[in-house]
């Protein structure tokens, strides 16, 4: 096999900085192979390693008596009583959606649904938070129709109701739209599945669709800024297949029910690499992969390509050896690929073989643990002078102002969006989109879940700390307003280039505000996602930390709606 020479240019094209490459040399004591370089680039990019954000995320409160699993797994898990757990997470698919809005959005929804059902939960609802450029920007219309159709196209076909979200327009998103998708699932507390492998010599199984050359470099793309010619560097676009995912869901839940699974991990960004390393490292085990066994869609795929492919609708699983036949039969019944692609080992090394050659042999724990960690310089956002209402002259009367406001794309009805989403499927949608929070019945009741996504980026830009707090508080209020008891949140932190101190300052400020609000309200963060480098030609997006909140209603029939119920009733204003 002809492998490219490792040159500084090649290293740079993998998004690795010279000092990061030095770190690799020191860690393995030799020049990495091409495949190894690819593996490092996948593990150490912003998207997988959280190298710019990790130290700040540590400040978030993540614990409460009802939290079963906080951040660090595929999704967060909270206890809602009666042996039931809610599994949820939000994730961004911003850059891919800008390049190909329909497919970018579908694969975003697909990815977050997989995160939830990998943990043993059946998805019961989806939400989405979308930020687009100014309505009059020439690309906006195309992006909006593609993204909305994509979010709907995937969820509708997969069969989960999309019950809420946000849509906003602002010129600062002209070159960087945001597509944040949240999925919520229901599981039994004693049947939650995790990523950590256990036991030596256990079969590692590949499940789902075949591997193609999709999205190679996708994970690195998610961590790079755009410039004017990024449209030219078109990566191989990932295409979503909700039909395959629906089969994967049913097959996964069936093998979990049959008690075949030791550990399971979704193949998300940088698919096989991240999933295999994570399963081994979390279980304190090594992993031997034999790529000859990986089902591929195209011929002649190299080890490098297989390790970095982002083909969708795939999973990696460690199986109870005695259950292999049974698990395989279940997967065949659903028409999905199933292949033993490796084994766990005691060596704590990540070994990848292809065509009889060892293409990579790396220390598995260090791949994750030794990833660079940055405390990037940050400056606090200068606060604006306080403006008092009495100092402002109203430019127009109250009625014209109101009319103008409700006609804005930002505040007008979002019916045109959510009518493209099946929000009634499963027959549990007690409160449909249009209210403060959606309410979804839990199985046959009487419990219900209140679900919402909130953030006001203008506030976050004016005062990151207050803006972060406000986003959490709004999620809390929306849940409370429908009668729910707020339990926990997932966050999706969308910001510009963290290498700029002002942007890093926004990030740090918002996180402080979020932490403070969560701590005060006893509203912990159980999962989340960070999306940085949302910037084009040096102009960043508005700081947009989307907050997805989940609350519980003991009796869904007691949920409150916002419509006035009768004439002549008193209207109360509470709060200050």
């Amino acid at each position: 096999m002809n492998q490219p020479q490792i040159t500084p240019e090649l290293v740079a094209s993998h998004g690795l900085k010279p000092d990061e490459y030095e770190r690799i040399l020191k860690l393995i004591g030799r020049v990495p192979s091409f495949t190894e370089l690819g593996i490092f680039s996948a593990m150490w990019n912003e998207h997988c390693s959280y190298k710019s954000s990790r130290i700040h995320l540590r400040g978030l409160p993540t614990k409460a008596p009802w939290v079963i699993q906080g951040p660090g797994e595929n999704a967060g898990v909270i206890d809602i009583g009666d042996g039931q757990a809610v599994v949820f997470k939000m994730e961004s698919h911003n850059h891919p959606s800008y390049i190909e809005p329909y497919q970018g959005a579908t694969t975003g929804v697909g990815g977050i649904l997989r995160d939830v059902f990998t943990m043993g939960a059946r998805p019961i609802a989806c939400l989405n938070a979308l930020s687009f450029g100014a309505p009059e920007h020439p690309k906006t219309r195309h992006l909006v129709s593609g993204v909305v159709a994509g979010v709907g196209g995937y969820g509708n076909s997969f069969g989960v109701p999309t019950v809420g979200g946000q849509v906003r327009f602002h010129t600062r998103y002209d070159g960087n739209i945001l597509v944040n998708a949240m999925a919520v699932g229901l599981a039994d507390t004693d049947k939650i599945f995790y990523a950590a492998a256990s036991g030596v010599n256990m079969p590692i199984v590949y499940l789902g669709s075949k591997t193609g050359r999709d999205g190679i470099h996708g994970a690195s793309m998610a961590s790079a800024e755009f410039d004017d010619d990024s449209a030219e560097k078109r990566p191989t676009v990932q295409v979503g297949d909700p039909f395959a995912e629906k089969l994967l869901l049913e097959a996964c839940l069936e093998i979990m029910e049959a008690d075949c699974v030791i550990a399971i991990q979704d193949m998300g960004a940088a698919g096989l690499t991240c999933s295999a390393v994570e399963m081994g490292a979390k279980g304190d085990l090594g992993v031997d992969l034999d790529l000859d066994a990986v089902p591929t869609r195209e011929t002649g795929m190299s080890a490098y390509e297989m390790m970095l492919s982002e083909s969708q609708e795939r999973m990696l699983m460690v199986l109870k050896p005695e259950k292999e036949k049974q698990a395989e039969a279940i997967f065949r019944k659903w028409g999905l690929d199933f292949a033993v692609v490796g084994y766990t080992t005691p060596s704590k090394r990540f070994v990848v073989k292809h065509g009889g050659d060892v293409m990579a042999d790396l220390p598995i724990k260090e791949l994750g643990d030794e990833a660079p960690l940055y405390d990037r310089p940050h400056v606090a956002t200068p606060l604006l002078p306080v403006v008092h209402a009495r100092d402002v002259q109203p430019p127009i009367g109250i009625m014209p102002a109101l009319e103008k406001l409700i006609a804005t794309p930002e505040l007008c009805s979002k019916r045109w969006v959510w009518e493209q989403y099946d929000h009634v499927i499963l027959g549990n949608t007690v409160q449909r989109p249009g209210g403060d929070a959606a309410v979804v019945r839990v199985q046959d009741g009487p419990k219900g879940l209140a679900l919402t996504v909130d953030v006001t980026p203008r506030y976050c830009e004016a005062d990151p700390y207050q803006g972060g707090m406000q986003a959490v508080a709004e999620a809390w209020r929306n849940i409370t307003a429908v009668g729910g008891r707020p339990l926990a949140i997932t966050d999706n932190l969308n910001f510009g280039n963290p290498e700029r101190p002002e942007i890093m300052g926004q990030f740090v400020g918002c996180l402080k505000g979020i932490s403070e609000a969560c701590r005060t309200l006893d509203f912990p963060v159980v999962s989340g996602n960070v999306s940085l480098y949302n910037e084009t030609n040096g102009r960043g997006i508005l700081p947009t930390p989307s907050i997805g909140g989940v609350g519980l209603l003991d009796d869904f029939t007691k949920s409150a709606t916002l419509a006035f119920k009768a004439a002549d009733e008193a209207i109360l204003l509470i709060g200050d």
Binding site: L247, G335, T557
Partner: protein, 233 residues
Amino acid sequence: MKSAVLVFPGINRERDMARALKLASGHEAQMVWHAETSLPKGTDLVVVPGGFSYGDYLRCGAIAARSPVMDAVRAFAADGGLVLGVCNGFQILCESGLLPGVLMRNAQLKFVCRDVHLRVERSDTPFTRGYNAGQIIRVPVAHGEGNYEADEETLKRIEGEGRVLYRYCSADGVVDENSNFNGAAQSIAGLVNERGNVLGMMPHPENHVEDIMGCTDGRGLFAGLVAHLERAA
């Protein structure tokens, strides 16, 4: 009422349907996998539920219509057995030749999920006896391809034989362009075969059977089927 709910890969409203059938009849519906070659003994009603069988790739319902179980359904229908197809189920019944015509993309080319009103055209059929003729009911739709089309001659026959059971209308029963949200020929939302024992419809009565959804207008369809089968028994 013993009902069999067909499950094709990609079908996703089978649970909603099973719940509605259980509520109406008190009996659990039997789920029947697409690869089966026969229906459970004593089946009174076959339901082809909604979803995206085979991803709705190629044409909606096309691949499912050619599944082994559909031969059994054809034989069941030929014997006079009751068959109900909803949404994707309607599409599958058309593709399998059990119903005439085809469901094309919605006129606005978008997936639409909202409550719509239907006018029940007659009440003397197993599928409508739970309603009064002319009654207006509210049920949700959720589809991208529900625009019913057939050639002139077929449409004339369907109308002449009174085979349209449900038509899109406004809240006060007006059937016109405005209430025909997906562009269907003659505002057809649901129709039966010549013999009257196979119904296909796009809207989802199974999602309006419980108070929690804010409306229970879908119940009549299921209650009518139960009543019909009880009387026949």
